[in-house]
Amino acid sequence: MKNKQYSVKVFETTIDDEKAFKMFFDKNDILFKEYLILINGDMSTDIADYLQEKSLNFIHNVDLPTGRLRQEPSNKNEKERCLSLQEELKALEIENGVNQQIAQTQMQKVQSEIKVLSEKLANNLTVVDEIIRSGRELKIEGDLLLLNRVNSGATIHTTGNLIITQVVEGALRCDGNFMMITVSPKANIIFNGVVVDNELLENKLNRIELKEREIFITPVIKKEINWA
């Protein structure tokens, strides 16, 4: 048996207006070459033929496993902006039929802005592999993966998620959606403005999450795995 695993980007949409839908893909088909288009609701054979002709990959009314949506507070504005821009784009599509020329220039502007924003959202992970010594203050916009120790007297701020694979003895200030921290009795952790009690971090690797204004701490790895 040969297996492969990979992730694809899915563009999920419904068809309200076939004309507007086609017009959108006439303009943007090049952007969706590597996407899987998921169409919910009704779809006519006309549209299916149209998408095949454009050689776009699509599926119809399939229940895909939903990935966790990333929602960092810092990116909220950008995300909302991104979404509202997409809405705007749709509105412009419809308007396009009425006033094609004006809409076209505006559309190009909006498209480039969407591209910049979505790239920014995709590339906000920082990976650091150095010991964070006392007196150092590390400020990270976005997510941080830290592969080394945080010593007593050091401080780490992240606006996004935080994963640390080694012992933490310094201070952590994380405003992201979740943190993963090893057992760290000496750490000083403030997660989204709330002090996290170190005694709750009793497992080898702990996951701290903010779900609907409540903080949950769950074990990821319970104890040292003994392979012998």
């Binding site: 006392s134 007196g135 120790r149 010593n151 007593s152 007297g153």
Partner: protein, 270 residues
Amino acid sequence: MGIVIAVISGKGGVGKTTATANLGLGIAMYGKKCIVVDFDIGQRNLDMILGLENRVVYDLVQVMDGEASVRQAVIKSKANDNLHFLAASQTKDKGVLNSEKVKVLVESLKETYEYVILDSPAGIESGFEHTIEFADTAIVIVNPEVSSIRDADRAIGILDAKSQRVKEGEEVRKLLIVNRISAEMVQNGEMLKSEDILDILNITLLGKVPEDKGVIDASNQGKPVILNEKSIAGEAYIRISKRLCGEDIPMKDIESPQTGVFRKFTGMFR
């Protein structure tokens, strides 16, 4: 060209000056030409520990200002001809140092001596920064206690940021000496183990020095403890000096009950 070693700790009173004196003497006893320089301007101590306080005529600041030549200011140790000493100024403030002057002095000492050991002041102020700026190697002294380790960690961080070698894209060698280890307290779990300290600081271990009451008396008399053959701290400094001179000496376990002095005594009375 000699190598420049800065002895640093961050926290005061952990044994920087004692270690500097003993390592300088240890290297000299090994047959290498060595100079120890006291960079603790305004609070000099190294002259007393080496027993040379009444020989000081010119000091480091006078040499840097051109008032005296290196040859005039350098003092030869009573204990070993290979060891020379350059005193700090007791009257001036550490603000008188500047990078250019320190560089000229260190470069000129490197030409004459195989080992140039700089005794850094405590803290992380300008005096400390000048000591580490042109060093090839830093020896970090810690005591097995949390405050000493945190301060040393901070000092290493500054070393990594401000050293001239690092700015030129090279690396400063960082070596650790754990000083004043009490086997009894380590066994009772009251003192940090050196492995734990190494985990935190993540630098190379150069040696472990056991707690030894003889050190204070040796310092008071101006005869570094390395000269006392019966002293366990002296033995440790001999091993460390040999390692610094490139010999491969295995690390002695001074934290286990077999070698701990305390256990030997209790064993006797049982």
